[in-house]
């Protein structure tokens, strides 16, 4: 007969935290699994009283929202944690942020109000920089994409190549001119930029000022199965308009949340919790 753990069952969840975090700079190359391990260690280092499940291998009560793909940056990743003791939000936010490597940054913590967070994450707002691609070329490609009733793309998954429509999920696709602003110049990147880069890469790590055009795609994608990712949008642009960026594109997720279909604006998924209970950190402004 299997042995069972001795002692009382683990304490119940008394508070749930919803956390918005960012993946920046060179740490955009972390995968979802990498973040999970780092986050769970950070919870221990920061002494956060996480609730655990019962059993021989108790696991912490943590649920992760759909992660930005490896290699893409994000200002709007979400995770929810169940606690066995109540905590003050700001000290926990600061302690968690300090316990994670710079570049994985805890931006905001709110206490969860009723209602599932996952249900509110209807769409993502992405910004995709295309260094070396002129705005005109990008605009033409975007137009061809938007007028197509369907754009089939292929993605290599662990079960083989999968074919699906990338067009239907795109709620908005605009093109901005990044070259005038010096697209890869940190100073112009404002809040999107990799504020973590400084201490990590310094010294001597200034991004080389790149010459030439740089179109920026401004895309809103509805979540679905499978969720259409920046790569898929780019595959779509290649198939409808032969757009092949000469340099690897850089994508950053600016926001995730409820989608206003009329305007194509992605709202703040934590607004409801913040109003109902309380928050610590910087509200998402996208």
């Amino acid at each position: 007969m299997a042995r069972t753990p001795e002692g009382p069952p683990p304490p119940p969840v008394v508070q749930r935290l919803r956390i918005r975090w960012a993946k920046r700079g060179r740490l955009r190359f972390t995968s979802h699994r990498d973040f999970q391990r780092a986050f769970e260690r950070a919870l221990r280092r920061a002494n956060v009283p996480v609730a655990y499940s019962a059993g021989f291998s108790p696991h912490p009560k943590i649920s992760y929202a759909g992660a930005a793909p490896t290699g893409t940056a994000s200002e709007a990743e979400y995770v929810e944690v169940g606690l066995q003791e109540r905590v003050e939000l700001e000290p926990v936010r600061a302690a968690l942020d300090a316990a994670l490597a710079p570049g994985l940054d805890i931006l905001e913590i709110v206490e969860a109000a009723p209602g599932a967070l996952a249900d509110r994450l209807e769409a993502s707002h992405w910004r995709i920089e295309l260094p070396g691609v002129g705005v005109g070329v990008a605009e033409a490609a975007a137009e061809a994409f938007l007028v197509a009733p369907e754009v089939k793309v292929e993605r290599l998954t662990k079960d083989g190549v999968r074919t699906f429509d990338a067009r239907g999920a795109v709620a908005r696709l605009g093109v901005l001119d990044g070259s005038a602003r010096g697209p890869l110049d940190d100073s112009a990147r404002g809040p999107l930029d990799d504020s973590a880069r400084g201490p990590l890469d310094a010294p001597g790590a200034q991004r080389e000022g790149r010459e030439g055009p740089c179109a920026i795609l401004d895309v809103v994608v509805r979540h679905g199965i499978p969720t259409v990712r920046p790569d898929d949008v780019l595959s779509g642009l290649r198939s409808v308009a032969d757009l092949v960026p000469p340099e690897p594109p850089r994508a950053v997720r600016l926001a995730q949340g409820p989608l206003d279909e009329a305007t194509g604006i992605v709202g703040d998924p934590l607004a409801h919790d913040r109003d109902a209970v309380g928050a610590s950190g910087i509200p998402s402004t996208a």
Partner: protein
């Protein structure tokens, strides 16, 4: 002069490779020091993939020891996989450190830690990517000093042409010594160039500089002698031994990677050295004498390390952790301290005795008892006398009975194949042992679903051990013996299902044997393999035996020696061994006598609990055994995650 980060050039390549996170650094507790504020700069490499190299304790210790020093910086670099190597060559991106992505060629020292010889081709790949000439003789003042350390450095002769220097033994004080020599030399304006710097290092008596030694050969291929060719260079180079481990409580801030690695835990070394005297064990021979860390320091390091990392598991490391004089107090103290915190403790120990099981029971008080590992190493009592593993089959059966009786469901047994004097019967006997284990387990547990796994690999004779003279078993015979064992295990259906069988074929062992006991002529083989595309030889999917043999055939064509000369040939007492000028402290006479005792099946007792058996290390190195008990106890602490 500022050194530019290569990251802007590397970054576009990272979107095209597997697991890019391994190349970006940014680990918790990683350090980036100001380049210009330091005058001695080290690039430290573990020449294997990041997932294997990052957890390496030796490298983490040196990284911290060096970075704590003012004016000194250390960064880390690891082998890049072939996908990135191809892109780096195409785009002209050099071998880089993961800390600040600085080019390895810009550092003063490029230090490589070799836990195994199978990293040699990866060293050549890294040198080439770094833009450092492969052969030491082609380097000038603009290139780093290429320095080898780690266990394989106790015979660095096969890589003597590629390295500028080697350090034997503990690295903590050695890296500081080398730093001081370089600092002084640079401070004087680098007089005499590279030759002078290397000469100064050689004259310390404890840094081996291969170029200052000439190797002369006899007509039949054996070495005639190895002689210093420059005044002031010592005839023999000594190993380093750190005494008082309590004064060196490193790593204090263990690195926590973002990428997945082979060990997701923090480790505390509970002692160094081992004098059990297993004759096959190079690690035990070259790390003498035993030096324990005290129970109080261990307790403090565990506490500080957990707080610094957030790891959930702590491993208490050493060559045989159950041998620490206060290990029972350490395990009980830690188990008490972390009870109910989801922090688990592990104690890698394969000792075949009841005490080891008591420790394992203590560490799994409330947890699952899945598997326990024991290492009898030899299949018969006779074989175990030859290797000085002082355990009888009855001891083993009593031990597994205690394990199954305490609720453990699975027992793993480690063995070796190809030991000196071994016959087919010695190996096939393992099947009988495994059946007795299952039979005993079923009796004491009253269950049929208990398991035993037999894990067996080929033995490779190593320098600085009593078996350094022994003939290695050829891979065909090794494989045939393993096949006989497999058939014997499978023969009895009632037991076959309960016994798992894991083995490693004999071919990689032959290459390891060639590199372990090779001399300078083997360097040509390594280079040929590297140039033919050989990399990551420790990985079965990259290792190519045929390539090694083909390259050895052509590279050694003009020599009176070949692969079997290095591997399956027994040496006699008079032969000059390639590493005789490298001093591990062990007295060669004593090693020879111990080799004769092995053949005669005579055992020797541990010097911790018995009189000194005069292996030579303590008087030669001016060291002493440092063991407890101290009688102190662990301080009560409030652990994290309570």
């Amino acid at each position: 002069m500022p050194v530019e980060s290569v990251f802007p050039r590397l970054e576009p390549l990272l979107t095209q490779v597997q697991k890019p996170v391994q190349y970006v650094g940014g680990e918790l507790n990683a350090q980036v020091k100001d380049w210009d504020a330091c005058d001695v700069r080290w690039a430290l490499m573990y020449p294997d993939a990041y997932e294997v190299g990052l957890p390496n304790q030796g490298l983490q210790i040196l990284y911290e020891v060096l970075n704590e020093r003012e004016g000194t910086l250390a960064e880390r670099t690891y082998s890049v996989w072939p996908d990135l190597e191809g892109l780096m060559r195409e785009h002209g991106v050099p071998q880089f450190t993961v800390d600040a992505h600085r080019p390895v060629g810009a550092f003063d020292v490029f230090g490589l830690s070799f836990a195994t010889e199978l990293g040699y081709t990866n060293m050549l790949a890294a040198l080439d990517l770094a833009g450092i000439p492969l052969e030491a003789k082609d380097r000038d003042e603009s290139h780093p000093v290429v320095l080898a350390g780690g266990h394989a450095a106790f015979n660095p002769e096969p890589i003597a042409d590629f390295i500028d220097a080697a350090v034997l033994g503990d690295g903590e004080e050695a890296v500081l010594l080398i730093t001081d020599v370089i600092r002084a030399w640079k401070g004087e304006g680098s007089p005499g160039g590279r030759a002078e710097l290397l000469l100064r290092l050689a004259r310390t008596g404890s840094v081996y500089i291969p170029r200052y030694y000439d190797v002369e050969y006899l007509e039949d291929g054996r070495i005639r002698r190895v002689v210093p060719n420059t005044p002031g260079v010592p005839w023999r180079v000594s190993k380093h031994t750190v005494m008082n481990l309590d004064e060196w409580p490193y790593p204090k801030q263990p690195l926590v990677p973002l990428a997945e690695t082979v060990h997701e835990r923090m480790s505390v070394e509970v002692f160094r050295g081992c004098t059990r005297g297993c004759r096959f064990c190079q690690a035990g021979m070259i790390t003498r004498p035993v030096r324990e860390r005290s129970i109080t320091t261990i307790g403090e390091m565990v506490d500080a390390g957990l707080k610094a990392t957030g790891f959930q598991e702590v491993g208490l490391l050493s060559l045989s952790s159950a041998d620490h004089s206060e290990i029972a107090e350490v395990t009980k103290g830690l188990a008490d301290r972390y009870e109910g915190t989801n922090t688990s403790l592990s104690l890698p120990s394969t000792r075949v005795d009841a005490f080891n099981i008591d420790l394992a029971n203590e560490l799994t008080r409330n947890g699952r008892r899945s598997g326990l590992t024991f290492a009898p190493e030899g299949g018969t009592d006779r074989m175990r006398k030859v290797i000085n593993k002082m355990v009888t089959e009855d001891d083993l059966i009593r031990t597994v009975a205690a394990a199954y009786g305490a609720g453990w469901r699975q027992v793993k047994l480690y063995f070796m194949c190809g030991l000196p004097t071994e016959t087919d019967e010695d190996v096939v006997a393992i099947a009988r042992v495994a059946k007795r284990v299952i039979e005993t387990g079923r009796q004491v547990s009253g269950k049929r679903d208990i398991r035993c796994t037999v894990s067996i690999g080929g033995f490779v004779p190593k320098p600085h051990t009593p078996f350094q003279w022994a003939a290695q078993l050829d891979h065909e015979t090794t494989d045939a013996r393993l096949a006989k064992l497999r058939d014997a295990i499978r023969a009895d259906r009632d037991y076959a299902k309960a016994i798992g069988f894991r083995y490693h074929d004999g071919k990689p062992g032959i290459v390891e044997g060639l590199l372990s006991r090779g001399d300078r002529r083997v360097g040509k083989v390594i280079r040929a393999v590297y140039e033919d595309g050989g990399r990551f030889d420790g990985w079965s999917e990259h290792f190519s035996f045929d390539r090694w043999m083909a390259c050895a055939d052509s590279a050694l064509a003009d020599e009176p020696v070949d692969v079997s000369w290095y591997t399956t040939r027994e040496r006699d007492k008079a032969e000059v061994l390639p590493w005789d000028h490298l001093d591990s402290g062990l007295d060669k006479e004593w090693l020879w006598d111990d080799w004769q005792d092995a053949v005669d099946e005579v055992e020797v007792d541990d010097c911790r609990w018995n009189p000194c058996f005069d292996c030579g290390v303590c008087p030669q190195m001016g060291t002493d055994i440092q063991i407890g008990p101290t009688g102190r106890t662990l301080l009560p602490l409030t652990p994290v995650g309570r």
